[in-house]
Amino acid sequence: MSQLTLKTEGDTHVVVTRRFAAPPEAVYRAHMEPALLKKWLLGPEGWTMPVCINEAKPGGKIRYEWSDGKGGGFYLTGEFISLEPFRRIVHVERMHLPDATPDNHVETIFEPDGTGTLMTMRMTLPDSETRTAMLATGMEHGMEASYARLEETLEEEG
């Protein structure tokens, strides 16, 4: 049912949308409770999240550590800026590979959509070069068709 969409907005934003067959309360909780986050926020198959720190309050720390089970891994750190339970999460995050990637400022909104939820995640990168590089490289990996489709979809939906 729930195709992931991803499009650019302005010079520095990337917007992701996804629909879920559960109400906003459940989707929000699945984004905030470590026991639930560890079940799905895992990346490629076979990876696990041995460390999940998620201090659900403004200024609260985020630290997720992933492991491939073969000695490989990396981690993400961030901070919550504001939280509106079941409706909106604003946070900053960066990956450590081990060098830190540029700060990604993320606003995630959960809206009721029938009996489910429409999630809209808006990422703001520090400058257009960072975002261009991110998307351009993505397209070289064969994402161009998806982006085009999605832009059409969004234009149609107005």
Binding site: L41, T130, T132, T137
Partner: protein
């Protein structure tokens, strides 16, 4: 890698991405790189300086030439982040569907 910000800025330019694509095939000199791009050698040299500064390519000395090649670690580092972002999004949300279904069925059990 020296600096991921620098690497991303370096990759924002289409000529520099094309140079990297060419170098993915193998080592090349400035002259060999200038030819397909219809650009002067000084212009190509400026792009190479940016790529080298960002740690994306390395150069060695061979007589009067300084052939360039990709710095594999740099590319891998960037790819890791991009692959994560892309794949993680799609797979994670498929898994989240499952988690949400489990949450709802547990709620159903608790209800009288």
């Amino acid at each position: 890698m020296k600096d991921l910000d620098g690497a991303f800025s370096a990759l924002a330019d289409p000529t520099r991405r094309a140079i990297l694509a060419r170098l993915a095939v193998g080592e090349a000199t400035v002259m060999e790189l200038a030819e397909p791009f219809d650009m002067s050698q000084p212009a190509i040299s400026r792009h190479l300086k940016v790529l080298e500064g960002a740690g994306l390519i390395t150069r060695r000395v061979e007589g009067t030439k300084r052939p360039c090649r990709l710095a594999p670690d740099a590319i891998r580092q960037i790819d890791r982040w991009l692959d994560m972002l892309r794949e993680a999004l799609a797979r994670n949300y498929d898994r989240l569907d499952q988690v949400l279904a489990e949450m709802q069925s547990e709620e159903g059990k608790e209800a009288p």
